[in-house]
Symmetry: C2
């Protein structure tokens, strides 16, 4: 036994090289990565040309990244890895509002607004009244809950994707529930849009016969002292991409009602209650 | 059954999205990648912070790449993936010369030289006579075999790593065997060196308690009409890093003798015969 690399003993050869000077968690993670990565290479019988193509793909993905573009997050999202990491780290009791992906367009520090205010600053799109309650699993109202919301505009772009073309903080705002645990604000009925698909990930989707669209959704981060943070969306129930979200963000419990109003402060109304669970101790 | 993403059904949810418009091989590869990648994420229970760190690692790896630097090849090499792909695609009969990694410093088009010539152009290092035969599994001599060789210099750098500081084609050359199937040339006894470790891969090695060194080796590509191409090294048998090559390139059959000469055209002599196998039809 020389410890040299062999096809059969490839995993052991690599993992035996990590020493007692390793960071224990990094060592655990990388040992498992080597095990699963080698199993993949063996099962797929990757050729030298395919390996070359993978090196080029990863290099291009890194080089297209900028302050406005994160191709590796798109890659993780489109392979279901982002949703899987979210799921593993946010298992909750039945009945609690489920998480979904944060997405790359969240910006911390949106303006605080009063209940009933509008977050649409460009006047475009179909107005929609969003309202509901923040409650716990027993239905108790949660006062002082913070609701941070954001959506795309009527053209399918977030404000940060169009600096100078949209008002800053367009379709974003923060609200805090009062003693009734209720929230209410006016935004627009969000629209579906493609994830950026002019780079390596877009090429990959084409090779897989997949489209790049996300179904229309409203983003929420809901927090309250003593409760687990909820990072989620509500989806527009009749969206054509609901069953084929490019990033796998849809969960059945997050599909919301959007009903047309004939009278009232907006053209649409989307009611949704957020159900929080106690912080894990 | 909605087809929406769940933790348990994560692989099926992603792979079901590939359509009949997919490239069949890309679909096969990516389906297997999703299966093994999700298994890794689940077994390692990757946290959100660890996922963030992975995104940063991959992005930095892409952004450090240049015409002289390929961090993803280093990553593949140091995780044993390059050697595994090579092994899968170059299984040979017992007794045939084994492959090992090509490495990032090969340059096609080295000067043709006559048998006995020296390839060391800077006069540095300990001279070494490399000689042997190119034969088949039955011991028959192979005439007209091409031997493309390259090594680092006495300081552990390849010529392409020090443009302007080393003569072009220093320690590189191509030779063709005559009717005796023999080769002979003078180079230097190669020295061990670290792979570039000032980037993300170097950081990873530190976190794993691993050093970045490769044991001293001479690179060869041996080809002959009708025979499988051999991409390999011969290693200096007493190198301190022989059992811990950072890229796992060492195979027992590739460890060569380096004997000191008291008399002759060089300070050292390293004999090695290359045994080729017939091209697969």
């Amino acid at each position: 036994m020389t410890g040299y690399f062999t096809e059969e003993g490839s995993v052991a050869a690599v993992n035996a090289r990590m020493t007692e000077h390793a960071n224990p968690r990094v060592k655990d993670i990388m040992s498992l990565l080597v095990k699963h990565l080698h199993a993949f290479v063996k099962e797929a019988r990757i050729t030298q040309d395919e390996w070359d193509a993978a090196i080029v793909f990863l290099t291009k993905s890194g080089q297209i990244c900028s302050s406005e573009r994160q191709e590796f997050i798109l890659l993780s999202d489109t392979l279901g890895v982002s949703m899987l990491v979210d799921a593993i780290n946010n298992r909750r009791e039945h009945g609690a509002t489920e998480n979904t992906v944060l997405g790359p367009f969240y910006v911390a520090g949106a303006p605080h607004r009063q209940m009933g205010d509008t977050i649409s600053l460009d006047g475009k799109g179909e107005s929609c009244l969003f309202e509901g309650k923040v409650i716990d699993l027993q239905g108790n109202l949660i006062a002082g809950a913070s609701i941070d919301v954001w959506s795309d505009n009527a053209d399918g772009y977030y404000d940060v994707q169009q600096p100078g073309q949209q008002p800053k903080w367009n379709n974003r705002g923060r609200f805090v529930t009062g003693s009734e645990g209720a929230y209410q604000f006016v935004g627009i009925k969000p629209v579906s849009y493609p994830i950026p698909d002019d780079g390596p990930v877009g090429q990959m989707l084409k090779h897989l016969g997949r489209h790049p669209y996300r179904p229309a959704h409203m983003h929420y981060i809901v927090t309250a002292p003593g409760y687990q943070k909820v990072v989620t969306h509500t989806f527009v129930g009749d969206d054509p991409y609901l069953a084929s979200d490019a990033v796998f963000g849809v969960k059945e419990t997050l599909v919301a009602v959007y009903e047309q109003l004939t009278d009232g402060p907006a053209k649409w109304r989307s009611p949704f209650d957020f159900v929080l669970t106690r912080e894990r101790s």
